[in-house]
Symmetry: C2
Subunit: 269 residues, 2 copies
């Protein structure tokens, strides 16, 4: 395989297999070339990825050494992407009765969801994780987007147990927004004891749901290493139960009737 | 930018922007080179993508002409991927009380989900679609995976209306498996009248849910152009309500107590 062809094949491999340690002999076989040619190819790809703000190839030498692609966005890119999202969300037509903000179209766009996933994955790329945990249903697409860049499985907590998931552990918790007692379940098989996890959700107000997941995860002796929420609502009446989290946007009600909203970048920077 | 760098940048662009028509001047600017060099680069990428079973670059000439990456897996690749999945699902430890099959670990793996999405997107690549429709919750990751390869939005039907999605249209339908009357809702804002849609779901038995979505979509004058289900259950007692669909795997109970299952590739070939 010629260099030009190899660069295409290797670029595709890394983009589809982020955070995956691969030894050089694999590429030598794949491309039918020498180790030194592959090594030069990797240098070229690493440089272009860095220039383009796509991340880097991390190489290790010695026995068992190899290469791993670490997606990491340029900060400027993330900021402009989030500012653009804020602009779209400011459209007054998005305000629903009750002062809610309609976001389903943006969170239904696979490209937007993938970019959001890439931003969280960039932020959490140095944490060793065993799973991304979310709660059904709106956090699910975001959780998969993050997971696809970090190459870890997604585990979904639900409101009701499903017969197709076997026995499960459940907890009750008080939802911050509705102040009602809610149930959350996690199938026993879904998570190994003592896992390191990252919680991803679409929205956080007082943090009741995140606290609920955290308590449920404690039943699995899991350690919450990171929390990412797409949007946080600024609510001065309520004390936030969760403090250590990354948010991409922040929504505040400007008037008490919810007819106007302020939407700004979150604490991700 | 040198050819080697351009090939990396362009490969990344196409993989992240499938089914997106892009005019050549965009690449001329992006890479700071001539139209004829870009044209040669595209030929190289097209050939490598075809050789590797990744799809093709479709080029159009004349005013407004450009290029579009169409992901299309090699058939042999899809078949071996599905056979491997069937093998994993045959593990007797997966059989749950009631004769259900535990699949959440496989559908929680972002790489597996992405491959499933790529297979459906390959199959449906020539259909003009406006949206992928699924019903919460297990079909959601699959729907986003398909949508990310076809670059169309995802629309999610739910069991209950959500206050964050505004007014919605609802229908009642009889679920095939439980024979109970169930409700399904779709927010009014989520789908334009007269859209061409593809329905994606994780599982189909008699087809009650798919029929339910189809009836709900009729309220939006939407036309169902394709149906993809990850797993279909073979149930001889029941007549299937849905006939024109693509399934990746087929599950049959071998004994009546559900202690043994036969798992084979579906009708996707």
């Amino acid at each position: 395989m010629k260099r030009s062809n190899r660069l295409i094949v290797l670029t595709q491999f890394f983009l589809e297999n982020p955070h995956t340690h691969t030894q050089l002999p694999y590429f030598v076989d794949l491309c039918g070339t020498t180790k030194s040619s592959i090594s030069e190819d990797l240098d070229i790809i690493h440089d272009v990825f860095e220039q383009q703000g796509l991340g880097m190839l991390h190489r290790t030498t010695g026995a068992g050494g190899g290469v791993r692609y670490i997606p990491k966005n340029a900060d400027a890119y993330d900021e402009s992407f989030i500012l653009e999202l804020c602009e779209k969300l400011k459209d007054p037509e998005r305000i629903l009765p009750g002062g809610y903000l309609y976001m389903s179209d943006l969170l239904g766009d696979p490209k937007t969801v993938r970019e959001i996933g890439r931003i969280f994955a960039s932020r959490f790329s140095e944490i060793e994780l065993d799973a991304i945990v979310t709660v059904a249903t709106k956090g699910i697409p975001l959780a998969y987007a993050v997971a696809s860049f970090l190459q870890v499985p997604v585990v979904i907590a639900r409101r009701d147990p499903k017969v197709t998931e076997g026995s499960s552990v459940s907890i009750n918790y008080v939802s911050g927004s509705s102040r009602r007692i809610q149930t959350m379940v996690l199938p026993k098989r879904s998570l190994k004891e003592g896992s390191n996890v990252c919680i991803i959700d679409d929205f956080m107000k007082a943090g009741g749901t995140i606290t609920g997941i955290t308590n449920l995860l404690a039943e699995f002796d899991a350690e919450v290493k990171a929390i990412g929420v797409f949007a946080e609502a600024d609510d001065e009446d309520e004390e936030r139960k969760v403090t250590n989290y990354t948010s991409l946007i922040k929504i505040s009600e400007v008037d008490t009737k919810g007819n106007q909203m302020e939407i700004v970048p979150g604490n991700f920077k």
